[in-house]
């Protein structure tokens, strides 16, 4: 069980990807820019990356985005698939530090988590996605950078709010305190 890539990780990728794909249909619209709205599935990706680490995070991101796009929208926008892995990795490398399952997700870790998510989202959506869009699809630069910026904004909001809430709550649950007293 303590192996680096054990059964639990395999299952986490499988079920995590399924969650990510299913939640594709849940969108909280943000503005009138195509392909940009708050995506709760990003919070789930961040959550799973923070618990299971960068490899699991990266694969859920890649696979989930590609499958979700294909299943729901019938096309795969590859330049936006790869950045998803960057987010998974960027958050996942701190998984050990977060120690979510041991109840270690405290205020300090919430800050670290958010720094990590903002940086990796910036890399993914402000840098990588638009650059890929330009090189692979030859889309106009200003359009893709604006799109990227909106995606960045939406993702840091949803991960910052929902992701942090989910992790803090789960950490509280997983690392149970034994000092509970009944009150009158």
């Amino acid at each position: 069980m303590d192996k680096k890539f054990g059964i639990r990780e395999v299952v986490a990728i499988g079920i995590g990807t399924a969650l990510f794909v299913v939640l594709t249909e849940v969108q909280i619209p943000l503005g009138f820019v195509p392909n940009t709205s708050l995506q709760p599935r990003m919070a789930v990706l961040a959550f799973l990356s923070a618990i299971f680490g960068p490899v699991v995070g990266a694969i859920i991101g890649l696979l989930g985005h590609a499958l979700g796009d294909a299943l729901f929208y019938g096309s795969v926008w590859w330049s936006w698939v790869f950045p998803e892995a960057v987010v998974g990795i960027g958050i996942g490398i701190f998984a050990k530090k977060f120690a979510v399952r041991d109840g270690g997700f405290d205020k300090k870790n919430i800050v670290l988590f958010n720094v990590a998510q903002v940086v990796s989202n910036a890399l993914a959506w402000i840098l990588l996605a638009p650059v890929l869009d330009i090189f692979v699809y030859a889309e106009p630069a200003n359009k893709v950078f604006v799109q990227g910026a909106f995606a960045f904004l939406g993702n840091i909001i949803i991960i910052g709010v929902l992701g942090s809430i989910l992790l803090a709550a789960y950490s509280k649950i997983a690392g149970q305190s034994s000092s509970l007293k009944k009150e009158d």
Binding site: K172, I173, Q176, K182, E183, D184
Partner: protein, 590 residues
Amino acid sequence: MDPIISFKDFSFKYRAQQEPSLTDINLQINPGEKILITGPSGCGKSTLAHCINALNPCSFRGETKGTLLVDGVMPEKEGVFGMSKRVGTVLQDTNGQFIGLTVAEDMAFALENDATPQEEMFHKVDRVADIVDMQHFLHHSPSELSGGQKQRVSMGGVLVDDVKILLFDEPLANLDPATGKTTIALIDDICRQEKVTVIIIEHRLEDVLYRDVDRIVVMNDGRIVADQRPDDLLCTDVLTKIGVREPLYVTAIKHAGCTISPADHPQHIETMNVEPYKEKVRGWFEQTKTPVRENNAPYALEVEDLSFAYNPREPVLQHISLRIRKGEMVSIVGKNGAGKSTLASLILGFYVPQSGMIRLNGKDISPLSVKERGEKIGLVMQSPDQMISKPMIAEEVGLGLAVRGVPADEIEKRVNDTLRICGLYPMRHWPVSALSFGQKKRVSIASILVMNPEIIILDEPTAGQDYRHYTEIMEFLRKLNRELGLTILMITHDMHLMLEYTDRAIVLADGQLLADDTPARILTNEEISNRAYLKKTSLYDLAVKCGIGRPDEFAERFIAFDREHGHADALGSSAESAAEREDRQDSVDA
């Protein structure tokens, strides 16, 4: 003959626990034996099973003392992989155990992991599919299968490994009574034909005893308290003392004042010799009165000629009409896919019916939205984990009010009132995760009650619960019903629940209303029972064998009598806290 499983002075303690979960276990099981291990939740029966397949201590850390030999090896040394070649485990959660994309692949899973050549896999899977009678479903996906079929696949999946021991962890927990019966028959056939040793962990004793078992091992508080042949065990009071339900006919004979003798073979009512008890049972029947229940309250819910289909060629519900009075407790029964959940979904407004009408307090509710209906009709899902969305209890219970914009101080007052009713007030500042399953269930009920609904609908309120938890949950619901005048509808396939706690049962089969009658009458009617995948109650057989002409009356009187005299055992306060303690242990296990 050497035993295939042998525990000697064996103890086991989970790393996270103070007290050992198994103490001084001495148990020998011979090859080819069929053993039932029973006991209340948390008695250690699952821990014992996990020691046999090496999940303890290899996956769930802990310390062992004493010796355990399984098929000549020590599981602890052999590890989970090593033991999987000798012991096939069929888990309670058959959907969780179904890993493959199709039936054939799932059955081949262990072979695949062993890098078995493909040709050989085809061959073995075909053979095993034959044994579990799934040969016509090889390419079906899990979503196309019923619970019983998934369980067959799980059995096939462990049989491919030519295991010597089959371990069933609560095989009946998620099945309807009729399917449970078939499962027990199948396990029995496999045991005889494949010459494997079978261990069944289950608290639904009567259902397991549908076919012979060689011995019953009874556990309580981590110790073995009895290890006897069924005929002997049923004549003692061991089971009732620790809160495991005896077969109903046994209880009935005991209520009549008889002492049962092993020589009369009480293991099966069909073959039991009831001659010595006949007179007393008949006498008891004459003396006891049928409870009179009358309810003339106005109708709370009326469903009139309701039909629904996802697509016109496959109707899910056809022309359903029923009426529920205020303050009634009613069960909705029928096999999976009969339309029970669809009916609830239509009442709650998740789906729109093709035709027909639903009235609440005489008023058509078709103009009401899901949210508006939700204020009057509450829905409690089967798994509390699927409902609870806040980490803290008080917050969770108040959620429905908060989203409706109720002021904070009123929320607090109503939440506290509700928590008091539900017995959760002392724990109001606890995280939900610190609660036992039964308490979580109460939280999910409280979060509905707080909105003052007139009707609540519960989906399988007691699925997978042992007698003690079952009684705890159901007595709580009865209290709500009596004290708050709440109308309660329960979707269930638990026959005991029907009999003991509901005034009326509505039976659906293939989308049609099959019967609407007292549970006692339904469960003593063979034709209806069969069509609804229920099982005729053993009280019926007892009544017939004793020459009582009105078996349904007999069942009714028994239930009323048992309710007054029998339930105290299951609700003993010490027993309850033990159950809760053990529940927490279960959550540590997971």
